[in-house]
Point group: C2
Chain length 684, copies 2
């Protein structure tokens, strides 16, 4: 992921939640984030960490359902990317030597701007403060105007820019508004500032704070000039306190520092990709937005190393016909957010996507997200604009998913060029390069400097090494200049320290030589697809959640069987002891079939147990009754439709196995198992 903290993009139209199952009416009630969050807590998907100690912002614990859903998403990721593409999986340390992150640029640049209430010391993220105060003023303006015109201020207008926040805990700390009318010009100015809020640096944020007299919202005290706050958690390694370490902000550096070992493992050839799934950390100033902005998170990152002269991809044909929703940079730069649907093949051919490898991964990312249950109508690939992209990147696309918080960056897919390997190699003086044999030796002429070792030392003494290095780093143009200056007597050499030295032909000569090159040596470029698993996890939950038309309080999580935490619930119809051995037997059989199941033999009514099941996202329920004992049958309930079918126990188990493996859909299952007509009332 780039050094810039990935954000929420609230500027775009929000497509409405649609069901991808025509047989299920999922849009009877508007989406309620509060209801979803209530369910998450009640069914222990996740919870703020250290709840009994009062909780800590930005840290979340995953309970049994959440941990299983996350494990299933990761498992699918591993199959889809690592196994399917024979990537080299890594598991590198979280604790990272400070030096490494100094080289990568994180020590200097991985920061946000914060300011302090000058009297009570309260801390704000500067951009959030400016945003909150200006939004409150605009809201106050609307209230004043509404009063003037006698109309009540519309409730919808009180919702903060991020949209849809209907729960106190997780939305941005909102600044209270007072009904004060603003000049039209001021309204326009504030609106324009808010539209660009992500683009201001600390100095500019400070200017805005002074210009608009922005103060600490609760105390009304002045706030300090914004200062940089590095977002890495710092610690020290070992007992002396002298070896500084940080918790990694991304897994990527662990790939780069091991590049040479990976290359060797791959018999010296590129392209190849390494992959890693693991925790990363970001010490947010004031975390908000639930799982979308957290201090500890699971990432899955791929570093695909390619020859910069050949970014074609061997398997490009497999994705070229996939149609993906693209929001290109030129569209955004013209102030629009219109999505164009194009095939990957077209997008690469027309240069919208820079190269085949980048296109290949965009296609694979699309397939992965849709497979695990992300609604394709709420998914887009947004290209970074030129001013947004790291200076070394040549192209970058984010997979953004639409949620009640707006469009969320969930996967970044960047061409990082040779930046990372180059800086680490320079810093450590270790070669991080690929050697590729030419098919035919390449013969060409080239200026080559010869250093006269016996003279350079005595002449420049302690600076000799510096001078030598500066000469050896010269490109052909500089060598040509040097050659001509030396012919005229002497040359001036400026080195990195700012010193200047005089060179003469007794220390260096430059000659044109014929080079016969059999091997090309190059630093590979890196294409990096980087997945925020927690963001995908949360978006998937929003896309899966709905309430039954007949009862708004009956929530359902329509998670695909592929990732559902538990695939099948086993429900004995009563607590009669005669059913117990059969329950155990079905449980064992499902386990051997590789289907994660759970028994609910609680005293709750069967309808309540089904409802609980719906909230847990369990796609299937097997009900055992006395006919199961006498006739060996079992009913199968499907979560989304609540339809029930019946069959012999082994037959039903086999159908469930096929449904979970993705070899059968519900329609197919209905062809195998007849409808269940008895006891229709159990699901009421």
């Amino acid at each position: 992921m780039s050094n810039v903290a990935p954000g929420v993009t609230p500027d775009a139209p929000a497509p409405s939640a649609v069901s991808n199952r025509p047989d299920v009416k999922r849009d009877a009630h508007p989406f309620s984030r509060g209801q979803l969050e209530g369910l998450m807590t009640k069914r222990f998907f996740y919870i703020q960490a250290f709840e009994i100690y009062g909780g800590v912002g930005g840290l979340y614990d995953y309970g049994p359902t959440g941990a299983a859903l996350q494990a299933n998403i990761i498992n699918q990721w591993r199959n889809h990317f690592i196994i399917e593409e024979e990537m080299l999986e890594l598991d590198t340390t979280i604790m990272t030597l400070a030096d490494v992150l100094k080289t990568s640029g994180h020590v200097d640049k991985f920061a946000d701007w914060m300011c302090k209430d000058v009297k009570n010391g309260e801390i704000f993220r500067a951009d959030h403060l400016v945003e909150g105060v200006l939004e409150a003023r605009l809201e106050g303006d609307k209230q004043a105007r509404a009063k003037e015109s006698g109309a009540p201020a519309a409730a919808a207008e009180a919702v903060p820019a991020e949209g849809g926040a209907d729960d106190k805990k997780s939305k941005k700390k909102k600044v209270k508004s007072t009904a004060v009318k603003l000049d039209d010009a001021v309204v326009e100015e504030y609106t324009s500032v808010l539209a660009q809020i992500d683009n201001f640096d600390g100095k500019q944020l400070g200017e805005l704070i002074r210009k608009y007299d922005i103060r600490s919202p609760e105390s009304n005290n002045e706030v300090s000039e914004p200062i940089e706050f590095n977002l890495m958690f710092e610690s020290s390694i070992g007992p002396t306190g002298q070896v500084k370490g940080y918790l990694r902000p991304e897994t990527a550096q662990g790939h780069f520092v091991n590049f040479q070992r990976l290359l060797e493992f791959n018999n010296g050839r590129v392209p190849f990709a390494s992959a890693q799934i693991g925790k990363s950390f970001r010490n947010e100033i004031s975390p908000r937005a639930g799982l979308l902005r957290v201090r500890e998170f699971t990432m899955a990152e791929i570093e695909h190393f390619v020859d910069p002269e050949d970014k074609n991809h061997e398997r490009f044909d497999e994705v070229k016909d996939i149609e993906v929703p693209l929001l290109a940079k030129d569209v955004q730069e013209s102030g629009k957010t219109d999505i164009t649907v194009k095939t990957i093949g077209e997008a690469v051919a027309s240069g919208v996507i820079d190269n085949q490898t980048l296109g290949y991964f965009i296609g694979r990312i699309y397939l992965f997200l849709v497979k695990i249950g992300i609604d394709p109508t709420r998914l887009r690939f947004r290209q970074h604009m030129s001013n947004e992209m790291a200076h070394y990147a040549s192209d970058c696309w984010d997979a953004e998913i639409h949620t009640s918080y707006g469009w969320i960056e969930c996967v970044g897919c960047a061409d990082r060029s040779a930046y990372d390997l180059t800086v680490h190699s320079k810093r450590t003086k270790k070669d991080l390069v690929v050697q590729k044999a030419h098919k035919e030796p390449k013969v060409y002429d080239k200026l080559v400097p010869t250093i006269i070792k016996k003279n350079i030392g005595p002449k420049f003494k302690k600076d000799a090494k510096l001078v030598e290095e500066a000469i050896l780093e010269m490109d052909q143009k500089k060598l040509a200049e040097l050659e001509s200056q030396l012919k005229n007597g002497s040359a001036q050499l400026s080195v990195c320290t700012g010193q200047t030295f005089e060179l003469t032909t007794d220390v260096v000569t430059v000659e044109m030589k014929t080079i016969r090159e059999t091997v090309r040596e190059f630093t590979p470029n890196v294409i990096e697809p980087s997945f925020g698993i927690g963001r995908i996890f949360y978006s998937l939950l929003e896309h899966s959640f709905w309430a039954r038309a007949e009862d708004q309080d009956r929530g359902v999580l329509s998670l695909p069987p592929l990732v559902a935490p538990i695939k099948a619930l086993i429900v004995p119809i009563s607590s009669n002891e005669k059913l117990a051995p059969l329950v155990k037997q079905v449980s064992r059989k499902l386990r051997s079939a590789g289907v994660a199941s759970r028994v609910d033999d609680s005293n709750a009514s069967i309808g309540r147990r089904y409802a609980r099941n719906d909230e847990l996202g369990t796609p299937f329920a097997c009900t055992l009754d006395f006919a199961s004992l006498s006739k060996g049958t079992m009913t199968l309930r499907e979560r989304d439709t609540t339809a029930q079918r019946i069959g012999r126990i082994d037959e039903v188990i086999d159908v469930i196995r096929q449904l979970c493996d993705g070899n059968l859909d519900w329609e197919g299952a209905c062809k195998i198992l007849p409808e269940y007509s008895g006891q229709q009332d159990v699901d009421e």
Copy 2:
């Protein structure tokens, strides 16, 4: 895991490496740790982290083979424990609120003793320093005695107490010895100190340092008094620096703070178990011994919550006949290390193992370790001695695995009683209890204090709350005393602050009342099996490694197919392009059969490719030759025996699938596939 740093137990006899495959001669060469470690680096199983930056002690990166082996071990663990026993999996944060670890005791007690060279500042772990110096003196004594007697000092005697260290990098920094003879009494004294080295606290280590004039080995300077060094990595959460956090030293606390949510998820019933797999951290003073003592490691922990009045286990019958090698505490306390082999049933019945649940897990741990490939003859369960165990624990057994470093604690299995839940509940004032309905209401008499609220406040003012709490905490015995003292006029009450108060009947009365109890409320006890995945990983590698009888340099890793990083290698016999489509086809077929495979189409000879394969621990190789094209056959090579069989491609793939699933052994495979007789020389 307990707060005490788990250690290496070097005191016991080392069983020799044995092959568990009678058809393979694995003991032709003595085990060489140096050779194994060379292989680990060459084949990128693991490497010191930040190698190109000079490396950092105690931090290791896992490469593609190591990461896959680790993932497979974890996967087996998840199946064996979480899935098979329907445990509740958790994923809680690594970054931990300091308060939580203050309550658990880690802030105060999770420490080692260190001392400093007073002049150059070099830092030593105090027990390692004493150990190293005394060992060197004993070695010097041996050399001197050998010289006296004219016999050469036996080479074996130069090996440090840990045993078998044959590689400089990973063994404890050894102190140089000089040939100086010691008095017999001194030799005896040193030997006795070394035997108890793990039992000394800081003060005692300081006394030993002064008594034996122990100095900094290289500088010969004096060293400082031992001071405590807390082994947790510290950081701060958020921008103010006021919220202190530590990286967790174990995953256990994440289970305990979520206990009430877990209980609710389990419908309020015990027993149940939660489980978590994740990274933990320990800022070692001077890490050594490779993967066995590291600063960042993967743990897998189970917290099984039980009714303290019923520690029987529902599935005990399934393990009761398993024979396990036990080293009980009374044996150790009598100075011996003899292992007794007993069935779990016998051990629990005779009270050697405290209860069924503990016995059940010991059985399950044994089955797991043997299944993934640990040599059962180098595995034992060692019971903690009374002085070794945390004060709250009622019984504790470590699964120890024998390696070239001695016996290594790889799994701890402790009955932690109600300690953890009690301290967190007390600190947070949140109930962490189970309510269990009595079958019949329980009716009994009980002394009950009644506090007269209107008088206690005015009488004790600010201390009133303190007095009230002290009264409410009294047990029946104390209440009986209070009752009789009150009858005689007044009673003296001592509270936790040390103050004493006079109680009279105007503030408190005590009466015998009849209680009708319908629900029993209790704090569950916790049985905790805690696995160090890295230690198991390393031990497994030692148990799997051997060298071919015909060539000591040809290492083989006989990893079981179940956990081997790659299950099958695909080897085209030549680089002829005609073979390429077939190679792809076989690769695809193996993938659909769920078999992780890899192609080796490098230019190396087939023999070298097989040898590389042996080093990677890949159990099977499929060789494709021109007969594959013409006749559709493929040969199958088995790694340990190097035997080759032949069959139709689909048939061979099916055999491999069964071998990997554990449904077929090699003997069975040989019954299906005939011996391959052509080109016998390819494996030479």
